[in-house]
């Protein structure tokens, strides 16, 4: 058994038209049967949020890597690592003539071991699902957290970020972990955000089971950047599709 990672990150039409960079970032690491993955979505109105999302993703992965062997039994250590990474980014990312809000981003991540379980950690919008294929409703779901309105959410740069950092336990037995920023959610998540949308998940997973990660990731990117996807949302889009299976595709 091994983790096979398919990942796609595309710049939304809204940013392409204005010559803005993609404000999403992601990072993935595996150590044996342990998966550590993070996606981050920079705030649209924050002028350096692409740097913020990148710095946040990298810092969290680095902080969790040493804890990969304690994934389900040492939650306080995991919480301390993630919170410590956020504090480090908050302390170090500023430079002259910037304020912390310039680097605002959301955060969705996981550390998971199929035999023992794990956790989602989540600040703001975006979503995460751990499923046992083909039950797309999922063993665990971390839904988005918005304010009352769709275009309000929570960022690591806010003073009360600790209050808004959520942890969700994932039971053992999942063989699919999907992490995404807000952009692809309308067509990847089911209505009500209670799991993956079967009409998306089933054909995607069936296809990816037949192709190697590099080619599959490219086709996944083409899917979330298709004309159909752009009609649904002009936002940046990032999707990680991590499969735990016996035989990797050639």
């Amino acid at each position: 058994m091994t983790w096979t990672i398919y990942s796609a990150r595309v710049t939304g039409a809204a940013h392409t038209e204005e010559d803005f960079p993609c404000q999403d970032a992601f990072a993935v690491d595996t150590a044996g049967d342990v998966l550590v993955a993070v996606v981050a979505d920079g705030a649209g109105s924050a002028r350096h949020s692409d740097e913020g999302s990148r710095a946040l993703s990298d810092a969290v992965i680095v902080a969790l890597r040493p804890l990969a062997q304690n994934v389900s039994t040492d939650k306080p250590a995991l919480e301390a690592a993630v919170s410590g990474a956020i504090e480090t980014v908050r302390a170090q990312i500023l430079r002259p003539e910037t304020v912390l809000r310039d680097f605002a981003a959301t955060l969705v991540g996981c550390i998971y071991q199929p035999s023992r379980g794990g956790f989602f950690f989540h600040l703001g919008d975006g979503a995460a699902v751990a499923a046992r294929v083909p039950d797309w409703a999922g063993l665990a779901v971390s839904p988005p957290a918005n304010g009352e309105f769709a275009n309000e959410t929570f960022f690591y740069t806010m003073d009360d970020w600790r209050t808004n950092l959520r942890w969700t336990a994932i039971p053992p037995g999942a063989d699919l972990v999907a992490l995404m920023t807000d952009g692809p959610m309308p067509f990847v998540m089911s209505l009500g955000q209670e799991g993956l949308f079967p009409d998306f998940a089933a054909p995607i997973d069936a296809y990816l089971s037949q192709v190697a990660p590099e080619a599959g990731s490219a086709d996944l990117a083409a899917t979330i950047d298709s004309e159909s996807a752009r009609e649904i949302s002009s936002d940046d889009k990032t999707l990680i599709w991590a499969r735990w299976r016996a035989t990797p595709a050639a």
């Binding site: 979505d41 769709a150 275009n151 959410t153 209505l191 998306f200 298709s226």
Partner: protein, 227 residues
């Protein structure tokens, strides 16, 4: 070369941008203009609604995301169109008559906005901050002070965005009480421009990303300025 795995993706989460319009249909809106304006204000308002409808339908995202509620105020205050997607909206033809119970009309709109939010949440539908447009060519003829204060408070509490618009010789000082940004004067000849602005503004808001400051189109092509 990379190819999409699925060609036609289904949208499971169409965010809504609710837009409630409280429109004066009182007797004065049916009077022929004597100030150099063109015809009756009610005719211009009806034409403006058609423009609003056409502009929204022409925008592929706005037609799915903007929802419209119409409350008419003329003799009585009543809902002319319950919440409906812009893609399904057909503007009713408004007729003028009666007094101006604007307070009751705004009360109805505020209540409908809150009940619609409950529906959105119950159905897992995300929504942007609702817009409330209040348009009158005169002054309220009912008890309006309490609801005006409630309206301003709702805006202060970020529950709704309010634009109060006074047509022709409207009582702007009174209409200003309904919104924290005061009241904007609208020339009777510029209903079309106003509704083009409204459709463009709601479309822009409906497509805004999280945390994005939205730059609305300028109002100077429909708002009048007192020299």
């Amino acid at each position: 070369m990379a190819q999409p795995i699925i060609m036609n993706l289904q949208n499971n989460r169409v965010e809504r941008t609710p837009c409630a319009l409280v429109l004066d249909m009182s007797g004065s809106m049916g009077e022929v203009a004597t100030d150099g304006g063109d015809g009756r204000a009610i005719d211009s308002l009806n034409a403006g609604l058609q423009t609003f409808d056409g502009e929204l339908k022409a925008d592929s995202e706005a037609r799915r995301r903007v929802q419209v509620l119409l409350v008419g105020v003329g003799g009585e205050a009543r809902v002319l169109q319950e919440w409906i997607d812009a893609s399904e909206f057909t503007p009713p033809k408004l007729t003028a008559g009666g007094a101006t119970p604007l307070g009751q009309g705004v009360r109805i709109a505020l209540e409908r906005i809150e009940t619609q939010k409950v529906q959105y949440r119950a159905n897992g539908i995300a929504y942007k901050r609702p817009w409330l447009i209040i348009m009158s060519d005169g002054a309220p003829t009912d008890d309006w002070q309490t609801v005006a204060q409630q309206c301003r408070q709702a805006e202060t509490d970020k529950k709704v965005t309010v634009f109060s618009v006074g047509v022709g010789g409207a009582a702007l000082d009174t209409l200003a009480q309904f919104s924290t940004r005061g009241a904007q004067p609208l020339d009777r000849t510029r209903f079309g421009e106003f509704f083009v602005w409204l459709s463009a503004s709601t479309a822009t808001v409906s497509k805004s990303a999280e945390g994005q400051q939205v730059a609305l189109p300028p109002i100077d092509n429909w708002a009048t300025v007192t020299a």
